[in-house]
């Protein structure tokens, strides 16, 4: 699979995505003792995804295991954030935003607002999304649900560098930030700046420049789109690929800049099609780019079914490189 091109070409240190997240957390924990991380199995085991592996030095002080109590995990983050700590809560799967539904969608999202900004919630919720083989309750990409929720930030790092930079920025943010870490990316590698590295929210990145079509994709769908772009390029079709980097805030300007140039847009995402992020992009383009669009938006997404367990079934539902090549090809015919 094509690796996602890095943002900092002078940087040569190659690091895994999971490791990059850890660097961000460790860096911030050293910088500020009020940064604490907790969740199920994040302590001695290092987390189900290994993100906190090797962080033993922090256990007991800034890193601790919780009971299997998701409402508590997110609720505690809220309470801690109110009182001067900078909590990082880990949910093992991003499906579990619903296991702490009241705390995520009602409390995190509305506390500051309801109390007129007198209480800030500088908290981070880290979660693993997507992938296959885990079943319907452990495989979803729930970012659209959060993006429909005013009051929370939504961050979708696609490269190790962005993982480090966005997690750092999330920890420093004074707002509740939900970080989606894609399961298929944890093991991917890329250049990551050493030391402090902060990635700004709200700035999309052009991962590949092209003139015929704008593809919007992030995380695993970005990797697939980049692979598809190579194939398309061999066919003489140059597509532009935009990684939104954060979904809230969403960089509308970058999207419009690209679509103005290409005249068409394809959104590729690993979530149910209806009211997936692509729906919002479609509506935004209608509202802001109606005059420039010469072809209708297309969306590649999971048809409206839950995520099955068997990997080959998942593969049959999630947009593939071939699907992207075919659809983009059609759009550029």
């Amino acid at each position: 699979m094509t690796e996602i091109s890095h943002q900092t070409p002078d940087e040569t240190r190659i690091v895994k995505y999971a490791h990059a997240i850890r660097e961000a957390i460790v860096g911030e924990m050293k910088r500020d003792r009020n940064v604490v991380m907790f969740g199920e199995d994040v302590g001695p085991m290092g987390g189900v995804w290994g993100v906190s592996r090797g962080m033993g030095e922090f256990i007991g002080d800034q890193l601790f295991d919780t009971p299997i109590s998701e409402n508590l995990v997110v609720g505690m983050a809220i309470g801690m954030a109110m009182r001067g700590l900078r909590p990082i809560a880990e949910l093992q799967y991003c499906d579990f935003v619903f296991s702490a539904g009241q705390e995520v969608f009602l409390n995190c999202a509305t506390w500051r607002y309801a109390h007129d900004g007198r209480v800030d919630l500088p908290l981070v919720v880290r979660m693993a999304s997507g992938g296959g083989g885990f079943g319907p309750e452990h495989s979803q990409c729930t970012e659209a649900y959060l993006m429909h929720t005013p009051g929370v930030r939504v961050v979708v790092p696609s490269t190790p560098a962005d993982a480090k930079g966005l997690v750092t920025a999330a920890i420093r943010s004074d707002d509740p930030v939900f970080v989606f870490e894609h399961k298929r990316l944890y093991g991917t590698s890329g250049p990551v700046p050493e030391g402090e590295h902060v990635t700004a929210f709200g700035r999309a990145v052009v991962r590949r420049a092209g003139s015929r079509l704008t593809i919007v994709a992030w995380q695993d769908m970005l990797r697939r789109s980049l692979a598809a772009a190579e194939i398309l390029a061999a066919q003489g079709i140059e597509v532009e690929i935009i990684d939104p980097v954060t979904l809230n805030p969403f960089d509308l300007e970058a999207l419009l800049r690209s679509v103005k140039k290409t005249g068409a847009c394809l959104v590729v995402e690993e979530a149910p099609r209806t009211l997936g992020v692509g729906a919002e992009i479609g509506a935004l383009l209608m509202e802001h780019a109606f005059g420039w669009l010469d072809r209708p938006l297309r969306r590649l997404a999971i048809p409206d079914v839950p995520v099955p367990t068997a990997e080959h079934l998942v593969d049959s539902l999630v947009p593939s490189v071939d699907d992207i090549v075919a659809t983009a090809g059609e759009m550029c015919r």
């Binding site: 919780t66 809220i78 009602l106 409390n107 506390w111 309801a114 007198r118 209480v119």
Partner: protein, 324 residues
């Protein structure tokens, strides 16, 4: 035993809260203030005695019943009225109303409008106090009905495991809105659940200032000493229905009217049809008179101040979602 000065303060706060609430009820009935208060009548003594046993900046997640929580923390009546009336001069400028009064410096952290949130958020607050070594204790006030939310369990268990400085203070009035505890709750004493978390569970008469104060003071000492959380259950009486205007038709017997604003505001009858005992009636009339002296003037001054404030502008509705 509570010392005399503290006792007077508790009684005085409870009396003020009652009188204030009665005035608020009037303002609601005339339409000057939206009628979305859950009346605290009958539960003020327990609330005030509990808070008197804590420090003025110990963080609290209050319940939805009445105004005594804030008055006990010296939040001006005017401020509360402005929140109720969606006017400038309150704490949340129309965004939260009476549900979300907030003043962190007084330990008033706000409220989860969805029941259960306060438990787990309170655990986080207690965690922070412990970690920061502030010596503070977090108190979460909640009703018996709310004790059936899952968050009660998750928070109680973890607070005990981590020995968090947390006091879970249940105001058991026997009702969750229209549902009597017998229909909703498997145990008569919520405090019985403490054993499941290896924490002390104490039942006190919510009209007994000494008992409430003593239990909370002991729990606070325990918490500050690093010995963890406590569950305290104060048996209280909901004198006037769930909301302002609740005629409690769901009670088996028809409600019995009283007089004064309370009567208009609620029913005030026990499920057996007998009039409910008001804990404030136990106060010696002479003392009560003395303590209440000046209340009406204070309250009217607050009402006047509230009236002088403008209703919040609609621009506020678009502010405070995120930190600017």
């Amino acid at each position: 035993m509570v010392d005399e000065l503290t006792r007077r303060r508790i009684l005085s706060t409870a009396l003020l809260a009652r009188r204030f609430e009665n005035r608020v009820a009037q303002l609601c009935l005339t339409g000057e203030i939206p009628a979305n208060l859950h009346l605290g009548a009958g539960q003020e003594l327990a609330q005030c005695a509990a808070l008197a046993a804590l420090r003025p900046d110990d963080p609290m997640l209050y319940g939805h019943r009445g105004t005594a929580y804030w008055i006990a923390r010296d939040l001006p009546l005017e401020t509360i009225l402005c929140d109720m009336a969606y006017r400038e001069g309150g704490t949340n400028r129309g965004k939260g109303g009476v549900m979300h009064v907030v003043d962190p410096a007084r330990g008033i952290l706000g409220e989860s409008g969805s029941l259960g949130g306060n438990f787990v958020i309170g655990a986080g607050v207690a965690y922070a106090e412990q970690r920061l070594g502030s010596g503070r204790v977090c108190i979460v006030f909640f009703g018996d009905g709310s004790a059936n939310r899952g968050q009660f369990h998750e928070a109680a268990n973890y607070a005990a495991v981590a020995r968090l400085p947390l006091i879970l203070l249940c105001e058991n009035n026997g009702w969750g809105m229209s549902v009597p505890a017998s229909v909703s709750t498997a145990v008569a004493d919520i405090a019985d659940r403490a054993a499941g978390y290896d924490m002390p569970g104490i039942v006190v008469d919510g009209a007994d200032i000494d008992a409430v104060f003593g239990a909370v003071a002991a729990a606070a000492n325990r918490a500050r000493a690093g010995d963890g959380p406590s569950l305290i259950e104060a048996k209280v009486t909901r004198l006037r229905g769930h909301w302002l205007g609740d005629r409690e038709s769901y009670r088996r017997h028809p409600p019995i009217g009283g007089d004064g604003p309370g009567a208009a505001a609620g029913a005030g009858a026990g499920s057996d049809g007998a009039a409910l005992a008001d804990p404030l009636d136990q106060i010696d009339p002479a003392l009560r008179e003395e303590l209440e002296r000046g209340f009406d003037e204070r309250i009217e001054a607050a009402v006047a101040a509230m009236r002088s404030r403008p209703v919040v502008g609609v621009h506020t509705a678009r502010e405070s979602v995120f930190v600017p």
